[in-house]
């Protein structure tokens, strides 16, 4: 039933996409497309959510006579797929709602509207696919539609390059996945997931599959060092599409990884966990350090996606390590933490991108150095963005803290792991997780402070207007979800239990019935957390303090010029900028991570030329990994280019030579 509903929603979305091509010139099309996407998202969300809550153990299958004639297209909806459907359709519901308002200002609707529902349909189909062919086809469909959306404003500076790099990386990732499924299916070509599940690959083969799956899914998710396209492409798209790409599409990639490694590949080796943990830890720290160095609001958010994907992969790596050692309860805890973070990140990242989109729509600026003081002009957007910032910085009582807390609890279970390598890697990953959480808080103080607080740095920020009601509605739905998932995490953890049951054959104890809605992942004597109680206590203490002081002490208030140690300067340039805010952190970490180098020139006394400050930073991942590849490709292209100007005789000689060579190869072969 649920599967049929979701598939019908997908069909409706694809139909809408076709209609939008025809009616791209009409002004009503925008309203129609987002309206239909909103309805389809709501239906699919309801169906998948109901499936996850009511009948989580069951699985529904369907087969459609499309695709390869002897294979058809297999679809299957189980608990894992249902969970990710909830994430996808929650994102598509809110971004369609947001699009109803935001899309009206779209300068080239013909480039956005047809692809938007197709992109949503593609993501839904990836999660439902039950054979390798359908999976790869829909995966590529998802990539291409999102690429088209990235290229919607292709005339803007840097967008064409972003799209180009995205296209290359997406093709590369799909190639890796193609080989993954080729290896999994074996020589007999059993491409249905059922057939793949039934066979157990050899150790060498599964190592190759893991590597390829990490490359294929990791490049889409933005795992370091395959992340380079992400901070270019995600910000280039319209903001509600950025939200979908960062908040949701990266989760589809996580789904791909979980499906292949946890479900299809068979029992894991312990070192898989070590590899995944290392990559996750590096992504978490490098992602947030990159983010700290940005002053483009949307790019900052995109780098934070890299960080959060790292956190998710830390959880997945722990789950693999535990499962390889047959510690199923601990594995269930780690996987629950990772999946809960998947949900949480999709919620707060969409929220933050919506906020950034509202700022972009109101001011036309993404550069934080030109903004400031927006809390006075856009008070509601500011509240929503602040809530999202608190959630992503893993601060209680919001949801980001709960999933990181669960990850920490899983790390604290890992001294029992027998392998020596893991004993070193797991605490290091724990330290990296702690470091990234602390740095994320610094980064969002910077982002919120530079954008919304202080005084406006440009006239665009001074004259900004609050965004429209649709966008605000979308943002506040997500704010509410951030808070609810943070203070009532027990219900969400229980909803994840069927997934861990499916993948690991173990689950956390039911949480929702516990006294006072406390969550107790392992045992009450070990650790527990109660977001609701904390929230109520903090709210009560704050309110009581304020009430007592206002009632009995003083409530007089006077407005005056800022004090600023007696020398206030009214010019907004005297404020701390985003760049100066990050400077101490850059001093501490940047020398190591970016080879950051500052040069200050202060003219000697008596000379009147201005002082100069020059900062150079290098992206080491790009320099080490990508620049050499680029160099090789350019070198080869230059050499091949000379072929173009050969004479006809030379061409004929080459053709003849090639034929002779091939014949010789054939002769030797037999």
């Amino acid at each position: 039933m649920a599967l049929t509903i979701v598939l019908s929603c997908v069909a409706v979305l694809l139909g809408t996409s076709a209609l939008a091509v025809a009616g791209a010139r009409s002004s009503l099309t925008s309203f129609f497309v987002y309206g239909v996407a909103l309805a389809a998202g709501a239906c699919a969300l309801g169906a998948a959510g109901a499936m996850l809550v009511i009948a989580p153990g069951s699985a529904q299958t369907a087969q459609l006579p499309i695709g390869l004639p002897w294979l058809g297209a297999h679809f299957r909806l189980d608990a894992l797929a249902a969970l990710f459907l909830v994430v996808i359709n929650l994102g598509s519901f809110t971004s369609s709602l947001y699009g109803l308002g935001y899309g009206r200002h779209e300068s080239s609707p013909g480039r956005v509207l047809p692809f938007f529902p197709a992109f949503l349909a593609g993501m839904n189909l990836v999660v439902l696919a039950d054979d390798a062919f359908t999976f790869l086809l829909t995966w590529e469909f998802m990539s291409l539609t999102s690429w088209a959306l990235v290229m919607a404003h292709h005339r803007e500076r840097d967008n064409a390059r972003a799209g180009y790099i995205y296209l290359i990386m997406a093709s590369f990732g799909t190639l890796a996945l193609l080989l993954t499924f080729g290896l999994l299916a074996g020589p007999n070509g059993g491409y249905a997931f059922d057939a793949i599940r039934a066979t157990t690959p050899s150790a060498g083969l599964s190592a190759a599959v893991l590597t390829l799956a990490l490359i294929g899914a990791g490049s889409k998710a933005g795992l370091v060092p395959l992340h380079v396209w992400l901070p270019l492409a995600h910000p280039a798209a319209p903001s509600h599409v950025s939200a979908l790409m960062s908040g949701v599409m990266t989760k589809v990639a996580v789904y791909g990884f979980v499906r292949i490694v946890f479900d299809l590949l068979g029992p894991p080796q312990w070192w898989w966990g070590a590899v995944v943990l290392t990559l996750g830890g590096i992504s978490a720290v490098l992602g947030v350090l990159y983010a700290l160095m940005q002053h483009d609001l949307k790019r900052l958010l995109a780098y934070h996606t890299v960080e959060n994907i790292g956190i998710i992969f830390i959880g997945l790596g722990l789950a693999l390590a535990f499962r390889a050692n047959d510690m199923r309860a601990a594995a269930a805890l780690a996987l629950t933490a990772a999946l809960f973070h998947v949900f949480n990140h999709s919620v707060f990242k969409s929220l933050l991108f919506f906020g950034a989109g509202a700022v972009l729509g109101a001011t036309g600026e993404r550069d934080m150095e030109h903004l400031g003081g927006l809390i006075h002009r856009m008070p509601l957007t500011a509240i929503a963005f602040l809530a999202g910032s608190t959630a992503i910085s893993a601060l209680p009582p919001f949801n980001g803290f709960v999933s990181e807390w669960l990850t920490f609890q899983a790390i604290l279970l890992s001294p029992q792991l027998p392998q020596w390598l893991l004993k070193f890697i797991v605490p290091a990953a724990g330290a990296m997780l702690a470091l990234s959480a602390a740095l994320a808080a610094g980064c969002f103080v910077k982002a919120f402070g530079a954008t919304f607080l202080g005084r406006p740095r440009r006239s665009v920020a001074q004259n900004a207007q609050e965004t429209d009601a649709w966008s605000l509605a979308a943002m506040f739905i997500l704010v509410l979800l951030c808070l609810v998932a943070g203070i009532l995490p027990g219900y969400f953890i229980d909803a994840l239990a069927p997934v861990t049951q499916l993948l690991l054959d173990a689950r956390l104890a039911p949480q929702a019935q516990l006294r006072w809605l406390t969550i107790v992942p392992i045992a009450a004597s070990r650790s527990s957390y109660n977001g609701l109680l904390l929230f109520v206590l903090v709210a009560a203490a704050g309110w009581l303090g304020a009430y007592v002081i206002h009632r009995w002490a003083s409530h007089a208030l006077r407005r005056a010029a800022a004090w600023d140690c007696g020398f206030p300067d009214a010019r907004p340039v005297t404020q701390y900028t985003a760049g100066s805010f990050a400077q101490p952190i850059r001093r501490v970490f940047g020398g190591f991570a970016f080879r950051a180098h500052e040069q200050v020139y202060i003219p000697p006394p008596g000379q009147i030329q201005p002082a100069q400050f020059h900062l150079s930073m290098r992206d080491l991942v790009w320099d080490v990994l990508y620049a050499p590849i680029e160099g090789v490709v350019n070198f080869a292209a230059d050499r091949l280019n000379q072929v173009q100007s050969w004479t006809i005789r030379a061409y004929l000689t080459m053709v003849f030579g090639s034929v002779v060579l091939l014949l010789m190869v054939l002769a030797v072969w037999h």
Binding site: G373, L417, V445, A524, S528, A560, P572, V588
Partner: protein
């Protein structure tokens, strides 16, 4: 009945924290003054300062937003709740299941987040300098703190503070290298988190060296009073944390009788007096370091914490 008893003990500890916090600050100031052969302000001066501030009108910068006005109360509330979760004279607090050590660290993180935002709100250069440096310090102090938490919880098999205290009191603990390293790291973190010398100077208003004071430069009246209370509470919290995790002797159990509570209270106050004295001596004997040396100081704390955790991971063979 048991619930009422627990609630009373919890309330008593919360109020004790609130009442003692300014006294501890005043006490440390007094000891420091004696060490410098000054008379120093009376012990109760912080209370008088607070009352005076509370009764004055608050002056707000023209472009201050609601963030600036609500932040003090949020900082106060989160710090107070975090402090209420740390056992003082008795373990087994009523609210203890609501938050373990990791959550207490995160609650303090929420308070810091609010304070840094408030520092940026008015848009002055000093607010920015303070917020920026505070977040740099936090980016190292918070992971170091979590590594210390890891060390203790790996030993005690629990992240609950009460369980840790009971475990350290117990017979199985023995002398451990990890614990020593964690203690040193915790003291370093506590110094940084509470803006004490050598990281920051609580008495300074010299512009370029301020961190904490720079963030709260624009505050006045009741807002300033609330922030000052929160700062003293945080100092008391770290003292209580060290006392509870490393010197839990004398602390009463949750279902103890009045005599046990009295012993717990006396030993708690004694520990505070000793700790405050040591801090005052240390602060008088050290010079403040340059801001960019702080990263070395805290990096050492982080490495100590990580090393302590690693040692425990390695020594727990399966």
């Amino acid at each position: 009945m048991a619930l009422i008893h627990d609630a009373l003990v919890q309330l008593a500890q919360l109020l004790l924290m609130l009442a003692l916090a300014p006294l501890l600050t005043g006490y440390i100031r007094k000891v420091k003054a004696y060490l410098l052969r000054r008379q120093g302000p009376p012990l109760l001066q912080p209370y008088r300062d607070l009352l005076k501030l509370l009764r004055k009108e608050a002056v707000l910068a023209d472009n201050a937003s609601w963030v600036f006005r609500t932040a003090p109360y949020l900082i106060f509330a989160t710090t107070l709740i975090a402090a209420a979760l740390v056992p003082t004279f008795a373990t087994g607090l009523l609210f203890s299941p609501a938050a373990d050590l990791i959550a207490i660290v995160a609650l303090l993180g929420t308070a810091r987040f609010a304070l840094a935002l408030a520092g940026l709100d008015v848009g002055t250069s000093f607010g920015g300098i303070g917020a920026s440096r505070e977040m740099m310090i936090a980016s190292l102090a918070e992971p170091a703190m979590l590594m210390i938490v890891f060390t203790l919880s790996l030993l005690a098999g629990s992240t609950q503070l009460s369980s840790v205290a009971v475990f350290v009191q117990g017979p199985t603990i023995g002398l451990r290298v990890s614990l020593a390293m964690a203690l040193v790291a915790l003291i370093m973190v506590a110094i940084a988190e509470n803006s004490r010398i050598p990281v920051d100077n609580p008495a300074t208003h010299l512009e370029l060296t301020m961190i904490h004071e720079a963030m709260i430069l624009e505050y006045s009246g009741r807002h300033l009073a609330v922030i000052e209370v929160a700062a003293s509470l945080k100092l008391l919290l770290y003292f209580s944390l060290i006392a509870c995790m490393f010197l839990p002797w004398g602390i009463a159990s949750a279902n103890g009788d009045l005599a046990a509570f009295a012993i717990g209270l006396v030993s708690y106050v004694t520990k505070l007096a000793m700790g405050g004295f040591l801090l005052a001596v240390f602060e008088t004997a050290t010079a403040k370091m340059r801001v960019f040396r702080v990263s070395d100081f805290l990096g050492a704390a982080l490495m100590l914490g990580l090393l302590a955790t690693l040692l425990l991971f390695v020594s727990q063979a399966a």
